[in-house]
Symmetry: C2
DNA sequence: CTGAAAGCGCTTACAG
DNA sequence: CTGAAAGCGCTTACAG
């Protein structure tokens, strides 16, 4: 019945005894740099050690290593919600890059609530992460400012705040691309579903869009909303009844899907009577019944780059922030 | 320029020196059970110790603790893809429950590929997890069988395999609920988009659906597909041209969304000419332009329960598997 | 090339 | 009630 005891994993000591050498030699051969290893033992001794390690299925104990080296090789990641596919994909990029560097990551939800951001960060710190990647920075920069003051190594991803190192999409440019597309189609009365006011993504996308319209002497109507379908639906309803735009830019695909529904509910045809564009080009966008025009942001790549950026921070440097290029994909929702 | 040195965190030793007591007393007061703490020091000593701990912002070093106790309080979670909102939501449930038990979790993608399942599992084991939660079990039970043989503590979530402890939705019942709904609407020619053949979710949902039709003397057409929109689109196309069903059950909301598109592309009206139902009731379902009928599975709760189940396994027990109840939400996509 | 020793920060029998 | 000691599994100066 009850589970049998799992046998204790091999340690440096086990191997040292088997191979008849000192534990420190084993450490250098198995876990040291190649130069260390070469200098630590003769070819034969080293081979014998490696042979034993393989036979005993040795794996270095990370807790012992961390305790000794004062480095956990752990990175904590904060996101608003992991069930948001945008953040999940960014996290996948972080994870990929981390694995390539021998780093482990763990991710936590903050729900964009300052109290949870703080609590989760303290949790990560108490787990002795080497650094943090924040995907939930608020534009006011309050919390990130505190962290910087405490000398906690961190970088931002997806959103920027203050002067802290970040990897983002060039959201301003992305918004402008949509505006240009709309203007080419002849839409002179446009609305923006601008997302949450504390996220630089929504702020920049909206600004890029509105500035381009303003350059034509046109003002755009703006409504804030949650980054989700229901929020987009409500925002589009307001836009439709209050200002009657012929084109709507939602700064997020999910909000755009909600807008699509609101357009239809108003008895209008998306893509024909009212153009709708989103942002991020999530996998769903192209597959919707009315395929959605969207600005693709390199989510996976942003995650990868953020991890690389954190590594430079951990090396004591102060790296430049990066802004990755967006790309517009035109589909039936802005067909006319 | 360069970041200032972060000051070393307080340790038991720091506190012991400040409070003028032995380090072991501090340990018992701060990290021991309440009884230990009570027995270890007088009220005043204990209070003094706690005061110092607070003042010095003491946080136990988890690596030292894990090294000493041979318990990491770490749980590894494997999922096919975190960017699948179903698995992301389940993981959120796991995370929530884990936090409540003082456990930390980390999650990895296996992409449903056996080689990656193995590699990620070894990685988790080398990080000395206390146990694993697998959200990517394959129905053949090959890999899970190996793990059980090695006495690795684990539970399954979302999918079941073999006799291993699992927390799933009652997928068979979920499939039957859809069949009953379709039959009530008078659909006698139905098709199923059955998902991947290695996932118990798709298998059970399909079986529950088909068995109910069979009880009426009716056979259903079945096509396998990926659990994504593109796969659902292709599968629906095949179904539509080959057998011309009046109702399609996709075992996954994303596949259902693809089916919605295929129906429309075929010049048919979803919900009027062809009924379409999905599974999981992801947040999008209710918000689609044509709201999607779907079977809600308690994703978050499944995650929570899986973590609880793992804890009983870690306590050496052999718990019963759990099947949570699904619930059908009828919407416009099966309006007639 | 190889070893002996100290120490990272904890917990926990053992002793009083 | 409190302390002294051993040890978890590593790494890394130091010495030869």
């Amino acid at each position: 019945m009850g589970r049998a005891e799992r046998k204790r994993p091999a340690t440096l000591r086990t191997i040292a005894q088997s191979a008849g050498v000192d534990i420190s030699t084993v450490s250098r051969v198995l876990n040291g740099s190649p130069e260390d290893a070469a200098r630590a033992a003769s070819r034969e001794t080293a081979d014998a050690i490696r042979e034993w390690a393989a036979r005993l299925d040795y794996r270095p104990n990370p807790h012992a290593k961390s305790l000794r080296t004062q480095r956990s090789n752990l990175v904590g990641v904060l996101v608003p919600r992991l069930s948001d596919v945008v953040l999940a994909t960014i996290y996948e990029g972080i994870e990929d890059a981390a694995a390539g560097h021998g780093l482990a990551t763990f991710v936590m939800n903050s729900h964009d609530r300052p109290a949870e951001q703080r609590a989760r960060t303290e949790l990560a710190l108490s787990r002795r992460v080497d650094g943090l990647i924040l995907g939930d920075a608020h534009h006011d920069g309050e919390f990130t400012g505190e962290l910087a003051e405490r000398r906690v190594p961190f970088v931002l991803v997806s959103r920027h705040a203050g002067e802290h190192p970040s990897v983002t999409c060039d959201d301003y440019l992305g918004g402008r691309l949509v505006a240009e597309h709309f203007l080419e189609l002849g839409h002179r009365r446009a609305g923006v579903i601008a997302g949450e006011p504390f996220a630089s993504t929504g702020i920049d996308r909206t600004a890029g869009f509105a500035d381009r319209y303003r350059a034509e002497g046109l003002e755009v109507a703006t409504v804030h909303s949650g980054f989700d379908t229901a929020g987009g639906h409500r925002a589009a309803e307001r836009l439709l009844t209050e200002t009657g735009p012929t084109a709507i830019f939602a700064v997020n695909d999910f909000a755009a899907i909600g807008a699509l529904g609101a357009v239809r509910d108003a008895g209008l045809r998306p893509g024909i009577d009212v153009a709708v564009a989103g942002f991020n080009d999530t996998p769903l966008a192209a597959e919707l019944p009315v395929p959605l025009t969207s600005v693709r942001s390199p989510m996976h790549e942003m995650g990868r780059r953020a991890l690389e950026l954190l590594i430079t921070v951990l090396n004591g440097q102060s790296p430049e922030s990066e802004r990755l290029a967006p790309e517009l994909f035109v589909r039936a929702s802005t067909a006319r």
